[in-house]
């Protein structure tokens, strides 16, 4: 049951991430997607993948997206603008 819930939230995250208007929200929801993926991999008994996804998907890729957003001036409403 819990698995199905996680998978559903995964799909919802993907849809929301790709339909959001604000690019900042896209990046944040993508990080949530990665986090859900981490939990799923931990439940599939692959701790190696869970660690990697947590460090890479939710960590480094997210940071790279934020930095890119800052460089293209898409962070509206923050102090940089």
């Amino acid at each position: 049951m819990f698995e199905c819930l996680l998978l559903l939230s995964l799909i919802l995250c993907a849809i929301f991430a790709l339909t959001q208007k604000r690019l900042l929200m896209v990046a944040i929801i993508y990080m949530a997607y990665s986090l859900v993926m981490t939990v799923i991999w931990a439940m599939l008994q692959s701790p190696d993948l869970a660690i990697t996804e947590a460090a890479v998907g939710a960590g480094v890729t997210g940071i790279l997206f934020f930095v890119t957003l800052k460089k293209i001036h898409a962070l509206k409403g923050t102090k940089d603008e």
């Binding site: 799909i11 998907g57 890729t61 293209i72």
Partner: protein, 127 residues
């Protein structure tokens, strides 16, 4: 109908992975915003990895890290998919970093990240 639902629940991981693959694929084709294209690529790749990792899982077995000197193969899940996914994640991170760098260069030149606008500007420049 009930049978179909039962099949879907039995194959829940695979079904979810394929739906995610479809979402990623269609967004990679249709999104005009390059950053969303990168997102879509990431979603598409991680859905394939989810599918692969689900194939290695076996009900009631534990992660392939040997405990208590128990060397029978019936205790642990299949280690191969985990290794392949690890390789795949590295590839997808590298590709998305490269993609982001390309986007930054284009932004410096054209001050937009919408691909059709960039194409129009590039064409105008060529004429």
């Amino acid at each position: 109908m009930k049978e179909f639902l039962q099949t879907v629940i039995a194959y829940r991981y695979e079904t979810a992975a394929m739906i995610l693959f479809g979402i990623g694929f269609i967004n990679l084709l249709l999104q005009k915003n390059l950053l969303r294209k990168v997102m879509a690529f990431n979603v598409m790749d991680s859905s394939v990895f989810l599918f692969l990792a689900a194939q290695g899982y076996i009900e009631g077995r534990i992660a392939p890290i040997i405990v208590n000197n128990d060397l029978s193969a019936t205790t642990y899940i299949n280690p191969i998919p985990s290794g392949l996914v690890l390789t795949g994640i590295v590839v997808s991170v590298s590709v998305s970093a490269f993609f982001l760098a390309l986007i930054l260069r284009l932004y410096k030149k054209y001050h937009t990240i919408e691909f059709d606008e960039i194409m129009t500007l590039a064409k105008k420049e060529a004429e």
